[in-house]
Symmetry: C3
Subunit: 345 residues, 3 copies
């Protein structure tokens, strides 16, 4: 059974990070399309269909000539709008020679892309977590690929009760007996929040914050399904930082489906304490890499075990937020398909 | 062309050996289902669907807690009947949370499993060769995987005229000019028997028995398609052992389809002479491994050459038993499908 | 999307080279069939379906016994006409036991094969370039596999405007501003020719001919789509060889589809100068290997980028010959399918 695509096209997704997009050509599979990304001399990011209009060679195998992209097969040359502006073997360019160009918006560290119906990009907007641009935070991140459907990853992010089983030695101990989630829904988002009874920190939490391992602290977690493209969440420890605020850890998972069972993931984390100490980032980063690796391992095993079906299974209270996210996506898909706003290929 | 499954579900198959099933979790693909196998503290073997009822994580990636199986994702916990008995994140277990449990019967060295319609397992019975429990025999074995349909393997086992071509240096020389097979059929089994004119032994037969390489001996072969799950056979050399009986070699091939072109194979061999001499087992075992390897190599080449079709080809007298086995399986399949006894998934 | 086969069966294709076909058995995939090739003691080449009529074992895994081919599974033995002439396990051969035999014509260095409707092979004929049998030429060649549809390769060969982009450092510099092609078509072939204004040679052309790198020479290129099986072409430099003729380079690409996106390629090149100097061949051969490797790399990227579709794309003047070749093949296919001359399998 080959699973059907279950991601809306009419949504801003994250195509890559500001750091990685530059003057070299990047090929990336996004929503089952091949896209080539690069940055113009002005700094603006360009995203084109990665398939020459002439004989379908990947444009990402070609080269930049100023702001023009030259195909590596016969030299067909494209501008940032996807129009072919030069065919070396003849004087004129054939009528209609162009490739799709996709609208891009950059909000560092993210490069957003619109792969839905052209002209509808204004109906929705990229979302930018405040801790990515406010002062008082320092961030780090990584990226990778998970061979699983994007909704399996969203569900996993929207319920941390897996943590004591998947990351037994690094999960905060208070997660072992969690109070119920408080879930808030809007038409297009789901948020959950949970305040734990005072409890110990895990070893790495203590190491990262400099707080005591043998004392109890108030802790709380929260998370939001912002859109099919983004999950953001946080963890707070009720002890003052050097600036007097509580310790806040924030992170985001950008999920961009490559296809029905394959998702490109970019994650970024930030903290509001010890922001000028790289040693703390170096301490925390490998733990977050490990979170990603275990999540990837679990979700790929789930996907492989589904045999291509979209089997749902029994649900429990802890799934409340994940189930609501599924409903939101199903509604987006139904609207999109009803309105037939698919971009013609 | 993707081949259709041609194995009856309503049949006892061999899931594994008594030796390998213990307190660790084994995942095995049986009749296109993923099954997790383990042994309870009491020694009883448990076989469950290897897919958590909650979010489809493989239970074989989890761990045992006494006789309970704890999922490695969110900790859903199952008893030997497949019922979920604990969900760590909440107080009650959702109604209907369970995975399929499969009936198991152990007759060492085999662990049998029933994957057909529940409640119909009594209509058939596992078969136990007498030489596996009678005194006066010693046995050894191995297992492996053949990427071929189970019926190709049965056909191969039910006709030894391939031996001089596939194993020219180890096939008994009397096989070069075989008398016709005597074939006996019942409604559900096929047996063949052939007594050769007196002839020489092959080098390894002489080495294994201590008999003379330059003398002629009466020899006979026999084999039985017991069920889609099992072939048993034997070879006799008409010379007395230390106990006065003729030399008898017996062996069994357990065939458990993993899918239409993939079969798990467990083989076991036994002899009635030199039963207390491990050196003779060490001498014979590598030859039997070599038989398995060549059989595997030939049958995988046949399967690959079928291009997914179930092309039959011209048959000859030596195929009589194999063809009858095919008819028996076809009848079992027709009955099963007519009666719609498929286990709901 | 699984692409449909778009090669006519009713056409002589090249199965292999005279050098490689001998007394060992070669298995080759040709037009989606498995064929075993060998040479009889008399020297005649035999091509049979590579699948025993009995149980489908590949005959290429067997062995030759004189001019007979013995299957490696049960010893079924075939003559050069594909008739089974011996079944070791019984006295008579079953009626109708045979495999397909394919008509072969050898014109060194090529072994041609007819895989179309039997009896129609006389309607077309293999084509033999004159420079392969005339005096005054010396040749060399190679072979390989390109995972692309044969028409993508034909198109690539029928238009050299890719050369400055794909082989920038080895393409003749005159190709950078090519005059228009002159294209000549017949019902079943397409030829193109182009004479360049006088210009420099590339470094390797000068090295191979001993001509000056800093002088201008008249140069011309030509090429012909002879049939779906063969492209031949040439390059001339208007300066006299030691024999007084102009320097002529000729080459041929034999394309034999293995399947819809996989083509076996045999190429051969020849020159009319320095024919007795192996050092010149050693100098030129690696450049031609490099041409093949880059062509392979480009065409496999194109094929992969088509996602299984036969997307055509925008065409330009330089595609005139390639488009005509596509029409010829489409006409051949339509005639063949209309007349239902497919060989029954």
């Amino acid at each position: 059974v080959s699973p059907e695509a279950n991601y809306p096209l009419g949504c801003w997704y994250i195509a890559g990070t500001s750091d990685e997009v530059g003057r070299q050509l990047i090929r990336r599979r996004l929503l089952d399309r091949d896209v080539v990304l690069f940055r113009q001399a002005s700094g603006a990011v360009v995203a084109l269909e990665d398939r020459c209009a002439h004989r379908s060679f990947p444009l990402s195998h070609g080269r930049l000539e100023g702001d023009l992209l030259v195909c590596g097969y016969h030299g067909f040359t494209y501008d940032a709008a996807g129009s072919c502006v030069r065919v070396p073997s003849q004087d004129h360019v054939p009528y209609g020679a162009r490739v799709d160009a996709f609208e891009v918006r950059e909000q560092p560290p993210f490069v957003w892309i619109w792969l839905g119906a052209p002209g509808e990009s204004g109906r929705r907007a990229p979302y930018h977590p405040s801790w990515l641009h406010e002062e008082g935070w320092t961030s780090w991140g990584g990226q990778g690929h998970i061979d699983a459907n994007h909704l399996l990853i969203h569900e996993d992010l929207l319920d941390l009760t897996a943590a004591p089983f998947v990351y037994p030695e690094i999960a905060p101990p208070v997660l072992l007996s969690p109070p119920p989630l408080e879930v808030e829904v809007t038409e297009t988002s789901v948020s959950y929040h949970r305040t734990f009874p005072s409890g110990r920190l895990s070893g790495w939490q203590a190491g990262a914050t400099g707080l005591a391992e043998d004392q109890d602290y108030e802790q709380s977690e929260s998370g939001t399904f912002v859109s099919p493209a983004l999950w953001v969440g946080g963890w707070e420890v009720g002890a003052p930082t050097e600036h007097g605020d509580v310790h806040r850890l924030a992170w985001a998972y950008a999920l961009t489906p490559a296809g029905p069972t394959s998702t490109h993931v970019i994650w970024i984390a930030a903290r509001n304490w010890a922001t000028a100490q790289p040693a703390i980032t170096e301490y925390m980063a490998p733990r977050f890499e490990e979170f990603f690796r275990r999540r990837k391992s679990v979700l790929e095993a789930v996907q492989a075990n589904l045999d291509g079906s979209d089997r749902r299974g029994v649900s429990v209270s802890a799934d409340a937020a994940g189930l609501r996210a599924r409903e939101i996506v199903a509604t987006m898909l139904a609207q999109e398909r009803g309105r037939a706003v698919l971009r013609p290929r």
